[in-house]
């Protein structure tokens, strides 16, 4: 096998509250119909190598939608939507590991829904942009008002996007990658 024939995978996380348009955002740019992967929710399963057959645990699963975009022959971008609910935050560590960064989608009608995502990315030191999803093509709040309401630091870009449109989604991802480059340069 020729190792150079296998592309390099890169990953961007799409975060935000429930029903803010994450799945739409991913499907607008994905080459494939978005797929769903499921993970067991119990943390305990990671702490034991062998599970007896009588653990008696009725586990539930957390489902994550994702898409795939071929950027070149050598590069594949994966976009992972975060599970919407707070109790699934343990999966976020896994999602942001090695990621370029995150797009935090915001619905200006429900600003508070994205607070946990903004907090998480800030604390985890993950490069992120806030993307205000203009539902119905209508922007209800100016991006700078959103910045103030969310108390987003000055260096974090607040962008306007439209999750339904491929070009808008691409521009948002470009904005994130540029921001990640700025942060990578600052760290170096």
């Amino acid at each position: 096998m020729n190792a150079s024939a296998t592309p390099i995978p890169v990953k961007i996380v799409v975060a935000g509250g429930f029903a803010v348009g994450k799945s739409t955002f991913v499907s607008s740019i994905s080459d494939i119909d978005p797929l769903t992967t499921e993970a067991a929710m119990t943390k305990a399963s990671e702490e034991v190598d062998h599970l007896g057959d009588a653990t008696g645990k009725t586990s539930t699963t957390v489902a994550m939608d994702f898409g795939r975009v071929a950027l070149s022959q050598e590069l594949v971008l994966y976009l992972f939507g975060t599970p919407g609910q707070d109790r699934f935050h343990f999966m976020w560590d896994e999602l942001v590991r090695g990621a370029i960064g995150a797009v935090v989608l915001v619905d200006t009608g429900r600003l508070e829904a994205c607070f946990p995502a903004v907090d998480y990315m800030e604390r985890a030191g993950v490069p992120f942009v806030v993307a205000v999803n203009a539902f119905d093509g209508v922007l209800r709040h100016h991006p700078e008002d959103v910045r103030e309401a969310l108390d987003v630091p000055a260096h974090v870009p607040v962008l306007v996007t439209d999750a339904r449109h491929r070009a808008a989604v691409r521009d948002t991802l470009v904005g994130l990658v540029r921001h990640a480059m700025t942060m990578a340069t600052a760290d170096a």
Partner: protein
Amino acid sequence: MTESDTDDNFRAFRVRPYLLTGGRTRAAVDLPLEALVRTTESGHASLANQSRERHQIVSLCASPQSVAEISAHLSIHLQVARVLVGDLVQEGLVATHVASTEKTTERPDLRLLEQVLDGLQSL
């Protein structure tokens, strides 16, 4: 929280997920969600002798697939996919680019980010 919210995120197990791995929940190699897996020549040659899930993985990865895609296409849990892929990697039947823990915890470097930027801009 709405009803559909719950439906979206919770699904009952249809089979005991770790039955396929002999109860093992930890993979032999570190595999991020996006790690690309590709079938090797020995993998192709071994196809006739594989159990169902291993056969599916070795067939699927004739074109490189991420661990997340393997999990989705086979309808198996992510952790189960990891264990199965980890075994196949150790046996040399599939190969993966990203295998080192140190490497995968890091953010992509500037050079890689530039390539991503170029790729996005050419979409």
